[in-house]
């Protein structure tokens, strides 16, 4: 579902990298001075701001929320299925636990899963994708076959089958999601590495005697940061959604408080049939909002790093800041940076 979205985003990025090698996308975020680059553009991008606002909000909720919630989310504090009230802002669930507390505490597990899986998947993707893209030859043949096989084997059934085999638990889910989720990033990074390694700056690093590892990590990787970051966000999104889905199916550890489990229990207690919508809305909407937040950031990254996708408004904003000339065309306001001279 949301993975198709990531797919298109990543596609666009790969393409952008191929078509505009000298574009601003190759300028990574490194120093404050450069904030006027990608980050600056992102800050000015309304979509990115909305996305970042949502994500930061939930990260804060996950980080400090559990210390502020009024009740222990595992404690039975009232009658079952009480509608929202002053005592229980989000009402109580089918056992009489406080839904607000569950939602807030649930953010922690859901986001933690997302970020951990995102990090693992990104690291695996970087290692395998870059190795394949840089080494070429047999190593690449082997690795890219593996990547493509993992990509083509349907993930969801594999996810469910794997989750069914493993003991239910937080780390099992992390493992399953990491195993099934790394290939997209690896594929995108592989093709990106392949195009970057043809760049003269790589050749020039070779001629001054840089080692392979250092070339990969210090010369090539920094130039793919926007893709890495977008891939990371995509993976976080995938993990949060997939974890919730698996838990909803009862394949997680139901004692763990997370959004997926909240929905699992709501479903188990027939929340819909008794009209207890308040047990369904907070967790479901939270998953949706976080996913929306990350998607919007990625959408904006895509827009910012791929000049073709920039909207007129943003282009105008850039123009206000610095002298540049714009070729007027229907589809693509191309910004030519006047740096020659």
């Amino acid at each position: 579902m949301s993975s198709s979205l990531n797919t298109t985003l990543s596609n666009a990025q790969t393409e952008a990298a191929a078509t505009s090698p000298e574009g601003p996308k190759n300028q990574p975020v490194r120093k404050a001075k450069r904030a006027s680059g990608v980050v600056g553009l992102l800050l000015q991008n309304r979509k990115a701001s909305i996305g970042a606002f949502i994500v930061v909000f939930y990260v804060l909720v996950a980080a400090i929320g559990p210390y502020l919630v009024p009740y222990d989310p595992t404690e039975i504090v009232a009658r079952r299925h009480m509608p929202p009230s002053w005592e229980h802002w989000f009402g109580t669930d089918g056992y009489g636990k406080d839904v607000l507390s569950q939602t807030v505490v649930g953010a922690r597990s859901s986001l933690a899963t997302g970020f951990i899986v995102g990090a693992i998947v990104t690291v695996i993707g970087i290692l395998i994708g870059m190795t394949a893209g840089y080494m070429r030859g047999r190593v690449d043949d082997f690795l890219s076959t593996v990547i493509n096989i993992v990509l083509i084997i349907p993930g969801l059934p594999l996810l469910i089958v794997l989750a069914a085999f493993l003991p239910a638990g937080f780390w099992s889910i992390i493992f399953v999601l990491s195993v099934t989720g790394w290939a997209w990033g690896a594929r995108v990074l592989r093709s990106q590495t392949m195009s970057l390694r043809e760049k003269d700056f790589v050749a020039s690093a070779v001629t001054v005697g840089e080692g392979k590892l250092r070339i990969m990590l210090r010369e090539i990787l920094p130039n793919m940061m926007s893709i890495v970051v977008a891939g990371f966000f995509g993976a976080v999104n995938y993990a949060i959604g997939a974890q919730a889905g698996l838990e909803f199916l009862g394949l997680g550890n139901p004692s763990n408080i997370s959004w997926g489990n909240n929905l699992y229990w709501a479903q188990n207690n027939s929340a819909m049939l008794v009209g207890a919508w308040w047990t369904l809305i907070p967790s479901g909407l939270s998953i949706a909002l976080v996913a929306f937040g990350f998607s919007m950031i990625n959408y904006a990254i895509d827009e910012v790093t791929n000049p073709r996708l920039r909207s007129q408004r943003q282009t105008a904003q850039i123009l206000k800041g610095q002298p540049a000339k714009v070729r007027k065309s229907r589809a693509t306001p191309v910004l030519m940076e006047g740096t020659e001279g």
């Binding site: 090698p21 300028q27 003269d200 700056f201 020039s204 001629t207 001054v208 005697g209 130039n223 740096t339």
Partner: protein, 341 residues
């Protein structure tokens, strides 16, 4: 090989065939075929030819960015291909440096100018301590005319103009105190107005620092301006070699004449080209026997399509590979002829 000349680099029968890529595709691209020339110490030798003629590939073969199919690269009397079969040694990398054509692509957009120059210094242990490193970097930047060096070192490539970037390329190449610099069309992407500055820089370095240059260009006029000896390449092969002045004034090969006719000559006024190129540059994929220029040559004879002409010495240090000269098969080898006198 003439003993009286001190050759830094001697290239013998260098050949590079690229496979076509398909698993079952046995065809090969003959990018460089039997290229032989040498560079005397402190001299500038030019390889001139159209794009696709194999001159950049030749430079990359010498710098060992790619490995040749066959041939010898003799550096200071040793065939480095044999003595370092698993890639160039750090010493060779330090002695043979390369400056790239594209000033935008050859600097890593992720790193500062300072970083670009620091790395070779550190890799080749040319400095001890942070302070000396800093001094050397600034020194080098000043050497190539990139003052104020303090400021430049902190800048990112995108903050420099093309000419400035190319100077960074030279500064980096110089940093390791090389013996030879392979300059691959260092000025072709620069504005005409700043080309001379870079060419003068090269000339000055050759004169003052005892450096040798392989200057690669498609611009025969700049070859004459800067270099002592010029070799002409066409379709992967060398077709003529002569002292630069002589080559311009008395071109022997029809292709060389074609190249010269394309150069605007202020003294000749407006005149129609007498030698009109017909046909296309031949495919380098499994090329047919005979002279590669046969298809375009105004003086083509039946033998040209059947037999590859041998190199014939027509004047001291001036040889040509054409059926119009000599009696074919008895000409001396170009190596002997090519030693610039």
């Amino acid at each position: 090989m003439s003993e009286q000349r001190d050759l830094v680099l001697d290239v013998q029968h260098l050949t590079k065939h690229f496979p076509m890529g398909g698993m079952r595709d046995a065809r090969k691209v003959h990018a460089v075929e039997d290229v032989t020339f040498s560079i005397p110490r402190t001299e500038i030798v030019t390889l001139v030819g159209e794009s696709g003629s194999g001159k950049s590939t030749t430079a990359r073969l010498i710098s060992r960015l790619i490995e040749p199919t066959s041939g010898e690269v003799i550096y200071n009397g040793t065939d480095v291909l044999k003595s370092q079969p698993r890639g160039a040694s750090l010493d060779y990398r330090g002695d043979v440096q390369m400056v790239f054509q594209d000033p935008f692509g050859s600097l890593n957009p992720a790193h500062t100018i300072g970083y670009h120059i620091e790395r070779p210094l550190l890799i080749h242990k040319k400095v001890s301590g942070r302070k000396e490193l800093r001094e050397r970097v600034l020194d080098l930047l000043n050497t190539v005319g990139l003052g104020p060096a303090e400021e430049t070192a902190e800048k990112f490539p995108y903050e420099l103009s093309g000419g400035q970037r190319q100077r960074v390329g030279f500064a980096r190449a110089l940093s390791v105190e090389p013996k030879v610099i392979l300059a691959d069309e260092p000025v072709s992407m620069l504005d005409v107005s700043i080309r001379v500055g870079v060419l003068n820089l090269m000339k000055r370095l050759a004169d003052d620092s005892g450096l040798s240059f392989l200057y690669i260009t498609h611009d025969i006029a700049s070859a004459r301006y800067i270099s002592d000896h010029t070799n002409v390449m066409y379709a992967g092969r060398m077709v003529e070699g002569a002292p630069s002045d002589e080559l311009v004034h008395e071109p022997a090969h029809p292709y060389t004449r074609l190249l010269l006719s394309a150069v605007p000559n202020p003294h000749a006024g407006l005149r129609t080209q007498e030698t009109v190129a017909r046909g296309e540059i031949p495919s380098l994929i499994d090329p047919p026997p005979g002279c590669p220029f046969a298809a375009r040559c105004p003086h083509v004879m039946p033998v040209c399509r059947e037999v590859m002409p041998n190199a014939v010495t027509i004047a001291p240090n001036h040889w040509v590979r054409c059926h119009l000269y000599g009696d074919g098969g008895v000409s001396p080898l170009p190596t002997a002829a090519n030693s610039v006198g």
